[in-house]
């Protein structure tokens, strides 16, 4: 058997339960998504004019019902696709080092290898290969399902289902793998490491998400309140008559509170102020990142999350080269 073949076989044997569980989960999820895609496309093809939300067709009062009911079930699967990279990354990453330490085989494995680093690289490379392959399948099927569910939208320029479809799933999975490997190397026991890695993942990805929101705020545009189709909604703001844009927290801190909003989104403190523009507090506005920036923002987040994955991998390598094997 070639070196690559023996590496694949050995790596699979060491992690076969986790690999099989992940593969089974992805197979089920992908099959579900493909089935929903097929059903939704069939329904949409039957009466294409009925699914355009921008037009009203009299004959369409009942027919989209089945489509939207099915679409709401399909949305559940997309939520699973959102969680899958984190779950799979941790399940594949945590036991790589921690199980060897827990079962007291790390010493032997490290002694037999040229170096601890090369041992870790071989182990992580296999897990990453499995993870990327499986998440790639999920990334494609989730894109297909999203396109079938929103047939009138251009999803390559649309923030709908952000983080639940496309390449971001793969990058997030790799970062979760890094968290798992690092936690496993630090703790040296499988289940406590999994717990710690889960808490750390929530923390790290929340920080990244909040940070990204702050970063892309610079690209946001101020719009009248309403549904910004395709855009990424970042929050409500108040545009003061001076032109200053403040959030509702800041408004409260300035001692201002809003009682009435008129049909032109003008904000007033009291009902009797309506009709007196000079007493207006400001205009209600939404902060929106336009949909055309979707590829750019995905690329940015991928770079940040990918960078975090590299840092985590380096930290795991550092821990493995320094720690005692038991």
């Amino acid at each position: 058997m070639s070196r690559i073949g023996s590496w694949l076989v050995l790596s699979f044997r060491l992690n076969r339960w986790e690999v099989l569980a992940s593969a089974a989960g992805v197979a089920l999820l992908a099959a579900g998504m493909i089935w929903f895609t097929w059903q939704l496309r069939t329904l949409a093809a039957a009466e294409p004019a009925c699914l355009d939300p921008t037009t009203y067709v009299v004959a369409c009062e009942q027919s989209p019902q089945a489509f939207y009911e099915l679409a709401s079930f399909a949305e559940g699967l997309s939520s699973v696709a959102w969680v899958a990279p984190f779950g799979m990354g941790l399940v594949l990453g945590v036991p790589l080092v921690s199980r060897e330490i827990e079962q007291r085989t790390a010493g032997m494995a490290w002694a037999l290898s040229r170096s601890r680093t090369s041992w870790l690289v071989r182990r992580v490379a296999f897990a990453a290969l499995v993870l990327v392959s499986l998440l790639f399948v999920l990334a494609i099927t989730s894109e297909m399902q999203a396109a079938a569910q929103m047939p009138t939208r251009h999803l390559d320029q649309d923030f709908a289902w952000y983080g639940r479809r496309g390449g971001l799933l793969v990058v997030r999975g790799l970062a979760a793998l890094g968290v798992g490997v690092l936690a496993g190397a630090l703790v040296g026991r499988v289940l406590p490491a999994l717990l710690l890695a889960a808490f750390a993942s929530v923390l790290i990805f929340t920080v990244i998400s909040l940070g990204m929101d702050r970063w892309i705020e610079a690209d946001a545009v101020v719009m009248a309140t309403g549904d910004p189709e395709g855009g990424r909604y970042l929050g409500e703001r108040v545009e003061l008559p001076s032109g200053e844009l403040v959030d509702y927290g800041e408004l409260g801190r300035r001692g201002l509170s809003i009682e009435v909003i008129d049909e032109e989104d003008r904000l007033f403190a009291r009902p009797e102020d309506v009709g007196h523009p000079e007493r207006m507090i400001g205009w209600g506005r939404s902060l929106i990142v336009p949909g055309r920036l979707y590829p750019q923002i995905v690329l940015r987040e991928s770079a940040v999350v990918g960078g975090a994955a590299v840092l985590l991998a380096l930290a795991a390598t550092f821990v493995v080269t320094r720690r005692r094997p038991g």
Binding site: A21, V91, L191, P192, R253
Partner: protein
């Protein structure tokens, strides 16, 4: 059980226990602080509202929305607590001994395998109950001080899966299911994944079954549109219907629409003349009865899982 056996049981899972004790303390303290803050903010808001007759200028800082959001996080933590506690503490009891090939020694040193298992599980069961109860109490306060409801006296079914004594009962059931799965699958991580899937299936099934049972016993309740919802006292509402004032017949909204069509709603907004809108559900006062019923089912599940774990441990090879 001797003190030594308790100490040993804790030492075997000290890392998981340490993490869970820290997390439970964090969630409980956070819940109590959120409940206290929400209660203060709501009191100040209500006083301002009553004094001025309007909520203009009554914004509290942090706002009631913030407390509602933080309360939501606390309740999510409380909802997940029984599952995390049960799975992570239950699975390794047997699975880790077998994975590390120490089961043979441990079982030989004990008077019997059953005794060994009971000595391992009992201290964990106590810890699980205590931690889940602490989180349940914290979450109970969060629900009772919900800034957008009047639940302080009787929360009824509000957040019933994330507060109160359902949490320790659920945690105990999940713990014993996880012990049984861990005894059957001798590797920790695969056992954890399987136990998670089994637990999910069991609780989804239980939830569907309980909903069907409650729907069968649901009855019409008068609607008293209060400031915070259709019916006060935290009822579990399954449907809205119309009661014929003359005959007392209750007709669901769908049936009503099919029978009378749009004509019954002349202005499209008001209820039809001669009918009174009612909610179909279980009143909040019956919360304790239903929680007792669900607890009994979970208790039976826990006993069955414990018995299964005992049978598996007594019969299986130690590797």
């Amino acid at each position: 059980m001797s003190l030594r056996a308790w100490r040993l049981a804790f030492r075997m899972q000290r890392l998981e226990l340490l993490i869970f004790v820290a997390a439970a303390v964090l969630v409980t303290v956070a819940s109590l602080l959120i409940a206290w803050g929400a209660s203060e903010a709501r009191a100040s808001f209500d006083a301002c509202y009553q004094a001025s007759g309007t909520d203009a200028g009554c914004a509290s800082s942090p706002s009631l929305n913030d407390f509602s959001m933080w309360g939501g996080f606390a309740k999510l933590g409380a909802f997940l607590t029984p599952f995390a506690l049960g799975l992570f503490l239950g699975v390794p009891v047997v699975a880790r001994e077998m994975e590390e090939r120490t089961a043979g020694i441990a079982w030989t040193l004990s008077r019997s395998r059953s005794r060994w298992l009971i000595q391992r599980v009992l201290p964990l069961a106590v810890v699980v109950i205590v931690l889940a109860a602490a989180v349940g109490i914290g979450s109970e306060f969060v629900t009772r001080t919900n800034p957008f409801a009047e639940l302080d006296a009787n929360p009824g079914f509000a957040d019933h899966t994330a507060r109160g004594w359902m949490l320790p009962v659920r945690a105990l059931a999940v713990l014993l299911v996880a012990v049984a799965v861990g005894a059957m699958v001798p590797r920790q991580l695969p056992a954890l994944l399987l136990a998670g899937a089994v637990t999910l299936a069991l609780f989804v099934g239980l939830s569907i079954g309980m909903d069907a049972w409650m729907t069968a016993e649901a009855r019409p309740m008068p609607i008293d549109e209060s400031r915070f919802g259709l019916v006060a006292g935290g009822p579990r509402i399954f449907d809205i219907a119309y009661r014929d004032d003359a005959t007392g017949e209750v007709i669901t909204m769908n049936d009503f629409y099919n029978r009378y069509g749009d004509i019954a709603f002349p202005d499209g907004e008001q209820g039809p003349e001669g009918f009174t809108q009612v909610a179909i559900g279980i009143p909040g006062e019956e919360y304790a009865t239903w929680v007792t019923r669900e607890s009994a089912i979970l208790g039976a599940l826990a006993l069955a899982s414990g018995a299964l774990a005992l049978v598996v441990v007594r019969r299986r090879r130690p590797s």
